[in-house]
Amino acid sequence: MELYERSAAQLGKMLRAKECSAVEIAQAINDRIVAVEDKVEAYITLAGDQALEQARAVDAKIAAGENLAPLAGIPIGIKDNICTKGVLTTCASKMLYNFEPPYNATVVDKLLKQNIVCTGKLNMDEFAMGSTCENSYFKKTKNPHDLDYVPGGSSGGSAAAVAAGEAVLALGSDTGGSIREPASYCGIVGLKPTYGSVSRYGLVAFASSLDQIGPMGRTVEDVAMLYSAICGHDPMDATSVHRDYPDFASGMKDDLKGITVGIPKEYYGPGVDEEVKKAVMDGAKMLESCGAVLKEISLPSTDYALSAYYIISSAEASSNLARYDGVKYGYRCENFDSLTDMYEKTRSEGFGDEVKRRIMLGTFVLSSGYFDAYYKRAKLLQKQIADEFAQAFKGCDVILTPTSPSTAFKLGECTDDPLKMYAADICTVTVNIAGLPAISLPCGKGANGLPIGMQLIGSKMSEATLLSTAHCYEKAVGGFGPVPKLV
């Protein structure tokens, strides 16, 4: 097995046993990037030299006998909406094509302190708006399982890099499914943590009340390790939660005795492909065989979730993205004859179509005369959806649903049909609206040979249970399959 195919947990053990060096690992990832990146196109900015430097520092620490964090020396890619000091952070937008933040996101500081090796900045849908990664200003990332297909989005670069072995782990961000959906399309594991458990400081905001940074990896254990490394209260983020966080990677159980899995019928409706339903139900049976009890439940407000999500997220986005005005940083149009003209041209030229669509939608729903009919009602619905989940969790420990109604789209399939793309979020948005944690796991393949994902949803701060359940499933199915060859 090549080094780039190994998990973070395995590589960590090898490093400590001195079976390989951090530089060898970093070099293996760099070589893999050289071999497949022109096919996959996962990265916007590569940091190969810096990665080797960081790896050398880790080797020096190992040689000096220093105690290292579990992820020390592990090559990790970072989604390009997470600020990295002095390194381009573009949000895959022309608007920030030249933006180098003078600060690190809190999660980046945390990881650097734990001596991780940063492979570079990963492609995404512009400002995290999209489900295919095709809304990037720079490039279209491909699905490593079939290069004619999208990797999903918006954390498409993160999912593709991890799936292709171009990074061992990656950070993504999830506002309505942006970690889970690409994880599902690319056949990897992605966790959207409880809102408030990972600091948002330095995550370029899309929808502040829904955004959450989370880990993506090829095994549940790896995802648990990365989650442990980034969670925790941050005084720089007023919405981050004070609580004790366990070491998630070491606390995982071996069976699912005492676990009740809720199956909400609303998530298996006519909009979901039959092959997806079947794969997820097979997953349910596998959970049952590990000792879990299955229970049909109902979450009746699910049908309204997509509308509520697009209203709330677009409203917040219209405000969050107003700061890109050409005044202080980023793109500014070349010729203008007044301040208003400069604003209009800068924003017309700097943003892509999907971003503009959402800014217009958000501006509309916040406008005087429409606020009550849209934003206010969406917020009421948000509360109703959250209450329904809270009620459901009185009768079950986790809820099992498909991650996406289908396998990955073909490239270009929804470029002209935004509503079709929005519908792909149907199973994931409720989780963000209710602020819950959820994990996507591979559960088989479709007729086209592309991965299918299933989603486990937990109550707030129940990541330990989620990860434990996911880990049992992974062991029961004998792992999630190899990294595609691509060469």
Binding site: R200, T239, E316
Partner: protein, 480 residues
Amino acid sequence: MEYEVVVGLEVHAELSTKTKIYCSCKNSFGSEVNSNCCPVCTGMPGTLPTLNEKVVEYAVRMGHALNCSINRICKQDRKNYFYPDLPKAYQISQFDIPLCEHGYLDVILDEQGNTKRIGVTRIHIEEDAGKLIHEDRFSGSLVDLNRCGVPLIEIVSEPDMRSSAEAKAYLDTIRSILQYLDISDCKMQEGSIRCDVNVSVHPKGSDKFGTRCEMKNVNSFSAAVRAIDYEANRQIELLEAGGTVQQETRRWDDMRGQSYVMRSKEDAQDYRYFPEPDLLTIVLEEEYVKQLKNSIPELPNAKIKRYMTDYALPHFDANLLAENLDKAELFEEAVHIGGCQPKNLSNWILGDISRILNEKNIQLQDTKLTAQKLTDMVKLIEKGTISNTSGKTVIEVIMFEDKSPEKVVKEKNLAQISDTSALDAIVQEVLANNPKPIEDYKKGKTNVLGFLVGQCMKASKGQGNPAILKELIERFIQEA
């Protein structure tokens, strides 16, 4: 036709907290351009605000001082608009649930201390924006972001004022309360208090208000008076000429003494307020709010009334003393030591002491004057040991040297001469040199006596006891 003027005011006061409202930058004025700001207050991508709790404390104290009810659960909202001095393109403010609301302020309007109650609609917290700088050497505008994130409270009044004088009294009282609470520097020239003025007029006797205009860019309280008077006249002239007042926002140009239309009602901006998702709901414990209420000191109006009733000071004196806490404290301490007339203490504080402070451009705490020294000196005057004129010499010394008034009197030989034998010669000489006034006096013009006493005081170098001099003069003239 006679018209009634209706005025409502929105006062923005910068709070003097150590740090800014949402980041840890120093809250200070006068730093080098764009040197006192950080990624948070300049709204860089990915940064987040965290609320400075001191700002809430200061605002709640102001709320208590203005008799408001405090919303112990309230939120912050985003006010969205584009302008280069607003780097996030939204201002974090409070929309439908302000921290404080439904208050009032009693404003003293006349010499008798009669008051009028002005309603306070609300007080909310918000962040200040940066500043645009225009320089000749540069064709566009430059932006200074140092002021971004400076904490502000906005105090909104009801349209309860009926003249510019009432508005001025309201503004002066607001300022002195801010000073009493020590929550704002109140430096007009640094823009730490600004106000927007709403004016309408209607025929006297009618209970229906006219259409109002809002004036922005009013940068001093005296400018507010000018702006209100100008606007009231403009509207009255418009109505008299058969026109109607349009609801609009106008910009006050204090240099020209005129206002100009900024935007009409149709162009009113839609700020698309919505709850700020990056900040948590503000929740204040009842006990904490009570504690802040108990921390409110005696406020200027109460002080003025107390000085008028307890110490029989005229409104003029009471008002001037209350306007400056240092002076009020000196006065009260001196009164407390006792042994002299409060009015005499007030005269010295508001007279020579204030004059000296002004001349030297210093504060009371920059001097060596104590309440004890002041009462000791006034007692010497009241007992007749020194004259009022000698007091002027004494005060100059005791304000800046560690000497008691008695010592100064001794050193400078200022003791008043009450010994008639010592004063005889002086009186005789003055009378000999002034035959005309003596004639006048004899004809019944007794007011020349003052002139003659003055001449004798002059001749005695201020040391003659004027009462005794007066007695001697009268006796000599009658004996002559």
